[in-house]
Each structure stands twice: as structure tokens, then as C-alpha cells.
Amino acid sequence: MPKIATRDAYGEALAELGEEIKEIVVLDADLSKSTKTSVFAKKFPERFFNMGIAEQNLMGTAAGLATCGKIPFASTFAIFATGRAFEQVRNSICYPNLNVKIAATHAGITVGEDGATHQSIEDIALMRVMPNMTVISPADATETKMAVRAAAQIKGPVYLRLGRHPVETIFGEGYEFKPGKGVILREGKDVAIIATGVMVAEALKAAEMLEKDDIKAMVVNIHTIKPIDEEVILKAAECGAIVTAEEHSIIGGLGSAVAEVLSEKKPVPIKRIGIRDVFGMSGKPEELMKAYGLAAEDIAEAARTLRR
């Protein structure tokens, strides 16, 4: 399967969807070529608003458009969408439950060479803490396209977490995507790996590695981090041990969300793979994944440790 960045899939999906849903308008903050909203802009120039390098106003304007029945997709890099404009997202979008979609690209450390200032490793935590917000973190191009469509249909704010770096396409045409519903990609009984975003591919590789050690690992894709699928997590917990994997801080993201469910409903040993409370740095995406312990081997090792 070809490697496609989820941002590219987003750009394509948005332009397609723009044809069907006339209420969709798109806003960007001088990054339309990077976030790929430029594809929509070219097709529907009158429904595209470049707001310049001003993310707070970007979110507020999107809110205003939503009060008039528009379905705004507001795009910029994840760090600016969720960090720079956090309080605008909270007070102008989430609190009044306005129908704004925040489609943020360049999430995680696979941003690569730009380094720590541009590597958003806190965005899931920031977005999932807010009432009314749906948080979706697609794993590949196929899932991204489905997620964009689903986001447009959800009534209320949605955060879509997208990446810059090309990733393997895991899912084919027949893949079924339901917001809020986790997907068991591989059955297993010894340990469960619950992953999101680019880490889903790594989780599948890790399961292959574990197979060689005769460890049967279940792999679950949690594309919707909020509302989280408790049912599938409790099912995974039947394996007796859980490894979570995300390209995000281990504080506040998928690992935390899963731990919250487990600790209240079915405590089992858990290990969180993610960025361990440090900032990123410049480097090639693959190098960074290794340097921060986010490779398939790291997931497999965590699973082995838990099993011991």
C-alpha cells in the first residue's frame, strides 16, 4: 500500500465533501499549502477564508460562521489550533457547542525537522478535556477520509488530528468507520495493544513481532478518543494486560483515557507508550520515533514486560 500523509487525505476529502455539502466553509491561517486546504480553496474560492497568521481570530470567526448555519473547517498546525487558540476554542466554540470542525495537521513529533516548537504532543489532552468536543485521530489516509465525512455530519465541535508525514495505508475500501467505535484489528488473548493515529501501524507490526514469541496480541484502533469506546476497552482488558500507544504525551492522551476507563471499571496492568513528559527535537520522523521510544519494537517490549 502506498504511503500517504493524513493531511493529504484530508485535503482531498474536504474538496470532495465541499461539492456535496454547500454549508462547508474553510478557514486557514496562512498554512493552506501545508494543511492541504488549498485543494478546497482552488475549487471553492468563495467559501475559503485565509485568516492570515492569527489563530485566535480564526477560531472566533469560525464560531461566528457556525452561528449562521455554516459548517466551518478551521485548519492550521495542531500546536497553534489547540495551544495558541485554546481559550477561543473553549469559550467561543465548545461552550456554545457550535458546529465548528478543527482539522489540525502537523500533530505529533513526526513533524520532524521543524523541532519542538512545532511538534504538538499535548493537543489530544487539551481537546479532550472540553465538554461537547469530539476528538478523532485517524490512523491512515482511508480512515482520514471517512473521519472528515463523519466530522461534517456530527453536530457540534470536532477535533481532527492529522499528520504531516506520509504513513502506510492500513485500511482498504471495505473498512467501516463509526465515530466513537473502536475497532479490533487483530484478535488476541495474551495482551492488548490499544493504539491511535500513526501508532496503529506500529501496533500491528508489534503484534507480528510478539507472534514470533508466541504471544497473541489483540490490536485495537481507537480513532475516536472522545467519546471513548469503553466497551472495546473492557473487551481488550480481558487479555489481562494493556499497552497503549500514541504519538502524544503519555499525560492526558489516549493512555490516560484508557487508564481512566480501566481504573474505574476493570483494573488491569497497563503500560503507556508515548512521549514521556519531554519536548521533542529536530530530526527525521523515523529517527524521532525511535529516539522517543515509539517504534513497534518499543510496543512489543512493553507487552513482553507486562506478560512477564
Binding site: G52, N57, G60, A63, G64, C68, G69, K70, P96
Partner: protein, 273 residues
């Protein structure tokens, strides 16, 4: 534009009722922001009792004119005007800031009929108003968007991001008011962090600027008419106002920014209103 004597009397009467409500409701709530509510009361009355195309029976009418209270702490003024205009029973005003009330401490569009945008965190209203104005242009609608900012609020950077965008997108269907009462919580705006010269800043950002006496209805209405005639750029009406206007012991007193009157003080205020 000639405003009839009857109209002026009607507006003056409405403004008096609104001011009385502001005092009564903040006294009843035991908290709130009377000073900045009283300073912008006349502007809100001019908009809701004369200018704006709205239907209190159908608050979400898609073709209505919109109003965003960017200085959301002046919620008592907005609530009093909306109640006076028939959006909800005046009885509700007594529930301001109380648990389960439709009247939150700051405006909540999902709870209060007639509130077009949730505000309260300063600096965010103009952006939302821009979005409404852009939507209007996109849909070829003739509604107009009004937004009221505080002068202290102009210290927020987002206001100027939005000011830039409104001019860039030539939002001539948008009119902003600045309630220029000169005071913010910590003191006079020029001492805390001067946003002056307000008119020149907006002019430099590409806006049409009009100065008015924010307590003179003829002046306010004339400015609104002028704003409607300006094409290709947004208009800001900088309204010179008095914080605490109408209540002598509150006028120009910074202490009355965020403090409710006691029962006795409310009675004293109501005597002169």
C-alpha cells in the same frame, strides 16, 4: 437624518427602564457589573428599540440583524434590553447569576433567547461578529452585524487580529461600537494600559471611524445611519460614555466596575432613575 421627538422620548423612557433593571438585577444578584452596563445602556437601547431588524417572538430568525456583546460583563444591560423588548418575561431578570437561571453571569446564546453569541472572555466578540458578517455576504443576505467592545477590551490582541480581518474582507455590513468610558477594573485605561488613540488605531487598520456622545440618541442614530452608507469597509463608532451613567454616586467611579449595589444603594439609585 431627523429623529422624531416621539422616538427620542420613547428611547429615553426605555433607557430609564433598562437602567432601573440593571440596578435591580445586580442588587438582587449581589454581584455583577453595573458600571459598564450603565455606560452602554443607551447604545443597546438605540440598537434594539430603533435600528435592528429583529423579532423577539422568533429570536433565531435567519434574516435578523445580529448583535454581539463582546464586553460580555455588561450582560445586565443586554438582558434588561432583551426583556424590555419582549424576548423573555421581565420576571426572569430577578434570576440573574442564580443557579439554573437562563441569565448567566456572562451571555450564553444557548440559554438566553435573543443572545446571538456567547461571550464573556474579552477580545473574542469581534471575531465572531466577523464570521456572522462573512456568512451574510456569502449568502447574499442584507442583515447587519453589530458588536459592542469595551475600551479596556481593546488591550486584547485578538481584537486587532479581528480588526485587520474585518477590513481585509471589506465587511461593510459590520458596525462596531467602542464603549469608551475610560475605566477598567484596575483604574483609568490610560494608566493601566492605554489603547489610545483608539480612533487612529482603527483608522490605520482600514476602518471608517465615527465619534459620538454615547448618551445622545440623536448622535448615536446618526452614526448608525452613516455606518450603513459606508461601502467596502467596516465602521467603528467610538462612543464617549460615562461609566455608571445615570446613577450619580456610580458615575466615573472605577469601584463600580464589578460590584453590586447594596439594597440601600439600589434604593438610592432608583430614586434618581
Amino acid at each position: 437624518m431627523q429623529v422624531s421627538k416621539e422616538k427620542l422620548e420613547e428611547l429615553t423612557k426605555a433607557a430609564r427602564k433598562v437602567r432601573r433593571s440593571i440596578i435591580e438585577m445586580t442588587a438582587e444578584a449581589g454581584s455583577g457589573h453595573p458600571g459598564g452596563s450603565l455606560s452602554c445602556a443607551d447604545i443597546l437601547v438605540a440598537l434594539y428599540f430603533h435600528e435592528m431588524k429583529v423579532d423577539p417572538q422568533n429570536p433565531d430568525w435567519p434574516d435578523r440583524d445580529r448583535f454581539v456583546l463582546s464586553k460580555g460583563h455588561a450582560a445586565p444591560a443586554l438582558y434588561a434590553v432583551l426583556a424590555e423588548r419582549g424576548y423573555f418575561p421581565k420576571e426572569e431578570l430577578k434570576t440573574l447569576r442564580k443557579i439554573n437561571s437562563i441569565l448567566q453571569g456572562h451571555p450564553d446564546m444557548k440559554k438566553t433567547p435573543g443572545v446571538d453569541m456567547t461571550t464573556g472572555s474579552l477580545g473574542q466578540g469581534l471575531s465572531a461578529a466577523n464570521g456572522m458578517a462573512l456568512a451574510g455576504k456569502l449568502d447574499g443576505k442584507s442583515y447587519r452585524v453589530y458588536v459592542l467592545l469595551g475600551d479596556g477590551e481593546l488591550e486584547e490582541g485578538q481584537v486587532w487580529e479581528a480588526a485587520m480581518a474585518a477590513a481585509h474582507y471589506k465587511l461593510d455590513n459590520l458596525t462596531a461600537f467602542v464603549d469608551h468610558n475610560g475605566l477598567q477594573i484596575d483604574g483609568p485605561i490610560v494608566q493601566v494600559m492605554s489603547p489610545e488613540i483608539i480612533q487612529e488605531k482603527f483608522r490605520a487598520f482600514g476602518w471608517h471611524v465615527i465619534d459620538v456622545d454615547g448618551h445622545d440618541f440623536e448622535d448615536i442614530l446618526r452614526a448608525i445611519e452613516e455606518a450603513k452608507s459606508i461601502k467596502e469597509k467596516p465602521t467603528v463608532i467610538v462612543a464617549k460614555t460615562v461609566k455608571g451613567k445615570g446613577v450619580p454616586f456610580m458615575e466615573n467611579q472605577v469601584d463600580w466596575h464589578g460590584k453590586a449595589p447594596s439594597k440601600e444603594q439600589a434604593e438610592e439609585a432608583l430614586k434618581v432613575l
